[in-house]
Amino acid sequence: MAPELTARNFAELTRPHWARMHRFAARLCRDPECAADLVQEALLRALKNCRQYDGKKSIAPWLLAIVRNVNFDQVRAGGRKREDPIVDEDLISDAQPDSLAKALTTERTGRLEEHLMSIPDEFREVLLLIAVEELTYEEAAYVTGAPVGTVRSRLFRARAMLRKRLADDRELFDRDGRMSK
């Protein structure tokens, strides 16, 4: 069991997770400049509420949940809205043959990043938590405050959105499915 989190040991116990918080924040807030501010704000909020951390669970989901909540509050305070999910997007048609296999080998990571960032927040965050941060469905549900079933469905839809964007990317692939220059 993890030791109790206090103001005294806070920096020591959370420091191993700062890079991970930053990675999550950078892909959450779209603006690369905001990630460090977001993590700082999240750490200060975590420090103020360190007694709320339940030492029985891993500390990472708790910290990531705070990053997410701070981002959510900032988005709301800034008058921006988390985008509504795109319900009419056709996620189930067939893709270009082989295009996704080529996407895996493409060097054009800038395009991949753009496609990832174009996925609406509530789907992207689940994809990041599970695919990148390697949380379990239960942990991702804790971070997002959504039921596990919803998390699973969002994960699959996020994958389908990404698949569609990659397959539709005419700049990434030419008509024959070959990677363009």
Partner: protein, 248 residues
């Protein structure tokens, strides 16, 4: 395709390829099996993305913010072992005009050493002079003490901690002394950090404890003689580490 669409929609809704109808369809439809594999592959593409780069000075800035929040010299009692000398030899420094403000010149002087009682304890006095080109009201000064080094007066190392306090730095020199004790042989890095809001600068001092006399050296600084060290840096607007290092 009608059946395929229904099956795929069911998979997206459930977030899993489960259920009798789904598994039965997948056993005979290569298009849907491929579609499912594509979903997995799409996820794998993002694992290949480069990790967003951590800005320089990120760790220091976070440590500084945390130390600040913990209440400036309260429970960590920066007062223990600190005093501001009445006099300090001014250190002149000219720094990049682009910097919002600057702090130049950390001077470290080894003043004393103690005998090392068992198991191990070596003391050293660190004198730091901060030279601000312009007044810095509400600057946060922090020492990051690694595991194995603590403030003089401590009976054992608390295992790595930050000591921070806030003070107004006038233009020119401000100096303070701090007594340090090493509880383990070897080299220990002590970071000296000055922050104002999100702008931070740091200098690193290495405490060499062990055989013979305890010594201090700096990383990127200039050793003037046996026991004097000069570090210069500018606080950068973009938060972080020294944008410039000059020997004095």
């Amino acid at each position: 395709m009608g059946a395929c669409r229904d099956i795929r929609k069911a998979i997206l809704d459930a977030g899993a390829a489960e259920g009798w109808a789904v598994t039965r369809h997948l056993s005979s439809c290569t298009a849907c099996v491929q579609w499912l594999a594509d979903l997995q592959m799409a996820e794998m593409t993002i694992k290949r993305l480069p990790v967003p780069e951590i800005p320089p000075g990120f760790e220091t800035r976070m440590a500084c913010a945390i130390a600040q929040e913990r209440g400036h010299a309260s429970e960590d009692s920066a007062a223990r072992g600190f005093r501001i000398p009445k006099f300090w030899i001014p250190v002149a420094a000219s720094l990049a005009a682009a910097a919002l403000f600057s702090v130049a010149g950390i001077w470290l002087v080894v003043k004393e050493k103690k005998a090392a009682p068992a198991p191990f304890e070596q003391g050293v006095a660190l004198s730091v002079a901060l030279n601000a080109a312009a007044p810095l009201p509400g600057a946060d000064v922090m020492l990051h003490l690694p595991n194995g080094v603590d403030l003089a007066g401590a009976t054992r190392s608390t295992g790595g901690r930050h000591v921070a306090w806030r003070q107004d730095l006038p233009a020119g020199n401000t100096a303070f002394d701090v007594g340090l004790v090493a509880f383990a042989k070897g080299d220990h890095r002590v970071d000296v950090v000055v922050c104002r809001k999100n702008d931070c600068a740091t200098g690193t001092v290495v405490v060499h404890a062990g055989e013979g006399r305890i010594r201090l050296t700096s990383i990127g600084g200039t050793v003037q003689d046996d026991n004097q060290i000069g570090l210069s840096f500018a606080l950068s607007k973009t938060a972080g580490i020294p944008t410039k290092e000059e020997g004095i």
